[in-house]
Assembly symmetry: C2
Homo-oligomer: 416 residues x 2
């Protein structure tokens, strides 16, 4: 019996890696003044109607009918849930809302590197502020998340575009604004489709391919000036490149869109998001009309990226070492002292130390071996000298004798 | 559009309460030397076959057929996943395994107080050790979890029984051991069914009701002596009462079973578990034959219990206050200084402070109001005195002027 394809068993070492990622997400988001929220794992299927999600996502739903005859689906993304929650209670909160979540999501995808059917995703959204300051705050958060994982500007890049730049491009050429979705789908495939086919499709819209290429090469001209000034103030301008070929599939984006890639382009996008100023109003029939933007960052590509960049892997591994197993192992060298040894272990636990000991009689050498396998920093030996015990630092083998009731205080000086 | 019945939207204040519960679970379990694991949210339906789960759980599954024609189910409990994982890789780990998880589970239950269809549950399991020391370690963890939430011995009690005590009871009376499951189902309903019906059912097994009642009143005699000595050593004996009427429905228990209740009995069981020494061998066709025990504690009853006990609610609320919102708000009193003010905010974030500021120009009074609404400790005012800024302690309104590049160091002395 195995886990389903695309689903993971998190053995302790796997769970620690996942928890490391989630803890960095949480820590950096909170430093940016974002607060955590979450929604149900299972949602009404209707929440993922066409206007709320992309067509690709709809084909990948884990959906079914529940025992109460409701059409339901495991959540494939957070934005529709967030939009529902905000539309329901937006009046209760000070604007802008700065909300994040770090939760599992589900998509029935073909299995391939960087894609699983259950994955953890960080989402951060800033709601109620429409200007370049809000855009920059969200991009800066994405950059600082990756910096906190140990990645530098030679490791990753944020590529960004803006749907309004292309809107303006079309308007300047007196092209019908209704062609924008079709036009963007051509831009999205500019590097993949045959030039003749592209030229033909653009020609139908009244646009020349050379003109499109020139606009892209120009980087959107002045379209990003205000944003770049804001990014400069936040010290993250050097991580960002304008790239007007970035489209992102989701129908609900209205302005800034961005994706984060490893510089070597070996991996899928590490993060992606954008501005969706009309989604809240659409979902609430106009009752809640707030500008908004956000992005998501999944744990799978990110985990692969950490594996590939030595500085990031070293930072993670240092965290894992500091978090693994017991810090103190109580070695019971004299079985007649088992009861006071256990009481001592309990007092260490009550003082906040991760403490373990053998539940059954075992040779002293075996107990020390276990302490080292757990990566413990200290062994406390309870033997015939009770009420005096021995405190050993396992790294240096330094040891001292100390009354058992002075141990907790003595250890305080060792707290890291 | 709403969440499904029995599912929760976690607005930030709700999410913080859930995160508080999960963080206490994690913290105390790790102090006991338990390490975190997790499994998939979705599992093959077969994993919850009759022998692995109880009959009640099977009727409450969210199960369906996925796009690959697999019969699948949202996990209703952790033990079958744990058993599969351990049976697959038990040789890779030092024994005993001390594993915990804190994850969402799903049951299609009738809605009532203390029951939801998606709930978070803490599970701790100790695998590879069969004696009373292991039993006591797990019971002590359950007790210390509740103590860490702020509950005392007048608030809750652990009621425990042992299937082996009833086995011995039947053996001493030369009753066929095969009746044990039926016999236990009678014991389970001793206080609810009519005495005549009970007497009749017991009579068919060759057991007298008075004899059963006398055994219960005796508390199982010497059956718990070894366990109680171990609980004494751990300082938790006073939280535990023998109660041979505790049965627990699950088919896989083989020894100790226990449930934790609030003393006032207003709520459902706060936690429950027991020993299941044959489940791993059954699941692995004998390949992995390890004794095991564990328990679960859900977030719903526990959350209600915290609300009801003032000491526990006060402890939670202190945690929530310390974790909410930004610690520092940068007040931009002079818009021409916005860029350096943002750079200063970024340096505070980089130093680990939860820092926020207005993304758009706003009146100084409004910015201070926002700082207080967020529960910030400090305001840093950036104005015409730049590069000197004002640091204000919001609680006392004390303030000092300080060069901006000395601020991070100055704040270190305020770190809690």
């Amino acid at each position: 019996m195995q886990a389903l394809p695309g689903f993971r068993d998190f053995y302790p070492e796997d769970c620690a890696r996942r928890n490391y990622i989630v803890s960095v997400w949480r820590d950096v988001a909170r430093r940016y003044g974002f607060v955590e929220f979450d929604g149900p794992t299972l949602e009404p299927l209707d929440l993922y109607a066409k206007k709320n999600s992309g067509g690709e996502i709809l084909g990948q739903l884990f959906n079914f009918t529940d025992k109460g005859d409701r059409a339901v689906a495991l959540r494939p993304e957070m934005t529709p849930t967030l939009a529902r929650m905000v539309a329901t209670k937006s009046k209760d909160y000070r604007k802008p809302l700065k909300w994040f979540c770090a939760s599992p999501f589900f998509r029935y995808e073909k299995q391939q590197k960087g894609r699983l059917r259950e994955f953890w995703q960080f989402n951060a959204d800033l709601i109620g502020e429409g200007g370049p300051g809000a855009d920059a705050e969200v991009v800066a958060l994405a950059v600082d998340l990756l910096r906190e994982f140990g990645f530098g500007k030679d490791d990753f890049v944020v590529r960004l575009s803006d749907r309004r730049a292309w809107q303006q491009f079309l308007a300047d050429r007196s092209v019908d604004p209704a062609v924008l979705p079709d036009f963007l789908s051509v831009v999205d495939k500019l590097e993949r489709d045959a030039p003749e086919a592209i030229e033909a499709r653009l020609g139908e819209m009244g646009v020349a391919l050379a003109d499109v290429r020139a606009f892209i090469a120009d980087g959107g001209g002045a379209a990003f000036d205000a944003l770049f000034a804001e990014l400069d103030a936040r010290g993250v301008r050097e991580f960002v490149q304008p790239d007007l070929t970035i489209v992102r599939g989701l129908a609900y984006y209205t302005g800034l869109v961005f994706e984060v890639f490893d510089r070597s382009r070996k991996l899928r996008a590490l993060a992606g998001g954008g501005r969706y100023d009309r989604l809240l109003a659409d979902l609430s029939d106009g009752a809640c009309d707030l500008p908004a933007l956000g992005f998501g960052m999944g744990d799978v590509s990110l985990g692969n990226f950490i594996d590939e960049v030595p500085a990031a892997a070293a930072r993670r591994d240092a965290f894992l070492r500091s978090e693994a197993g017991a810090e103190i192992v109580v070695v019971i060298a004299e079985e007649t002292q088992r009861a006071p040894a256990i009481a001592l272990a309990q007092s260490l636990r009550a003082a906040g130390w991760r403490t373990d000991y053998s539940l059954v009689p075992a040779k002293v050498g075996r107990q020390f071996q276990d302490a080292e396998k757990q990566g413990a920093r200290f062994a406390v030996v309870v033997g015939s000298e009770w009420p005096v015990v021995k405190l050993k630092l396992l790294a240096t083998r330094a040891e001292e004798s100390i009354p058992h009731d002075a141990l907790v205080d003595r250890l305080k000086s060792h707290h890291v």
